[in-house]
Symmetry: C2
Subunit: 263 residues, 2 copies
């Protein structure tokens, strides 16, 4: 058995919200992160393509020594979690959906809103699992496809973003939701805008903290090893790292993409 | 020599504006189109990645019989046109930038605005070529990274889109631009909104029509052969085809992505 190490992946930078929550709780956590920035975003792609990319991402992390896989992306979690579990029967695979579902289902009888990418919402995975956890729950969902580009554009705190959030969230507010699941790891970065739009009466459940609660119950978070960040594109992410984590990381280039395939 | 056929590619669906202009002028044009929807968008990716993808896209078109390559994507044109010309010395390679530059440079002395993706604007290719064509031209540019997701979301005619367009275009209007180059093949779909924001006094130059003018001068458009549409993701694009072209096309899956690479 290798020295234990978390392998965390996302379609891009959204999964860094999971890394942030991890480091907040375990600053010495051993992990390798992969952001598939060369093919981001996943949220408007097809199930087949999402599964293919998730398999490649996980394979990369395993070659880097990951002994636990964390799918820090709701879109990949929606379509690829079971495929990854079947592919790696000896490796624990955590997805970001079940922990949020469990947290929501544990609350008193209520109406739950879910927001996510087009692919996540189209999968219906949250509604299905919420109903399985508690048939009395009512759930209503909305795809918010512009939220990821708004976050990646750095427009997290702008009036235009609030205007768009009001458009997306209106149908949920009409249903008088009592809690809201942020079903995309980018969305915690829009927390302030979303809170303003839904008001203080709605509980907001975000995937990274629900995931970390769940992981802490299920395993002992490995510490004391390496902390590495890989991205499939060679953009400069260092500027995020210092802002987000209060300390620098090196962004390494992960060469998982096809370079020598025969067309 | 194969029977002549145009090979047209884009990061996704934006290049269909070039196909539309082509079919408006030559309804029987022989062409094969590739939209790299599995890896879209290109506009926020790095030069290395953009070049790598453009090479793969062109290679696919050549295996399908293309005898002319048309880069129907400003981002790929900005970084990969010269690489493609060097890779395929016997195949004419058209990019979408030079025709728009030539059209703008032919107008009376003026101040020209350019809008495009983050990568296109960062390349400075329009300013460089405009200065080369006419040192008296003044040019000012702005990246509009949310325009592509807005188009792909179908928000081409919404007040939120107009609000965002006002934010992006304000610095150009402050410089009193007399014409505006739409430096992205998605942007003609935002024509109405852009026209409203810049007013009737600004000439709008779009790449697809400048490109077709240029191609018609340079070669005889091949007609009478096949018309094929390929996409690297297997999403359903048929809904666009009937709206855009007034007739259906079959969207075929192009398997150019890495499936059997060793990680």
């Amino acid at each position: 058995m290798n020295r234990p190490m978390l392998g965390i992946f996302d379609s891009g930078i959204g999964g860094l919200t999971v890394v942030k929550e991890l480091l907040k709780r375990h600053s010495g956590a051993s992990f390798v992160y992969l952001g598939d920035t060369a093919r981001t975003p996943y949220g408007n792609k097809s199930p087949d393509t999402i599964i293919e990319y998730a398999l490649e991402d996980a394979a990369f992390l395993v070659t880097k020594g990951a002994t636990v896989i964390v799918i820090a992306c709701n879109t990949a979690s929606s379509y690829a979690a079971d495929v990854l579990r079947a592919t790696y029967p000896d490796i624990p695979v955590f997805d970001v959906i079940q922990p949020a579902v469990d947290a929501a289902a544990a609350m008193p009888e209520q109406c739950i809103g879910i927001i996510g990418t087009k692919a996540t919402i189209a999968s219906g995975v949250y509604e299905t699992r919420l109903r399985a956890a508690n048939p009395d729950l009512r759930a209503v969902s909305a795809a918010c496809p512009l939220f990821v580009p708004l976050v990646e554009e750095g427009w997290t705190d702008r009036p235009e973003t609030e205007t768009i959030a009001r458009v997306y969230l209106a149908p949920l507010l009409e249903k008088s939701i009592e809690s809201l699941i942020l079903g995309c790891t980018h969305y915690p970065l829009l927390f302030k805008v979303i809170r303003k739009v839904v008001g203080d009466g709605v509980s907001i459940l975000d995937s990274p903290s629900a995931l970390l609660d769940h992981m802490e119950r299920e395993l002992s978070i490995p510490e004391g090893g390496e902390q590495n960040m890989y991205f499939t594109d060679n953009n400069e992410y260092a500027r995020y790292f210092r802002d987000w984590f209060g300390r620098p990381f090196v962004a390494r280039r992960a060469d998982i993409d096809s370079r020598d395939r025969g067309v």
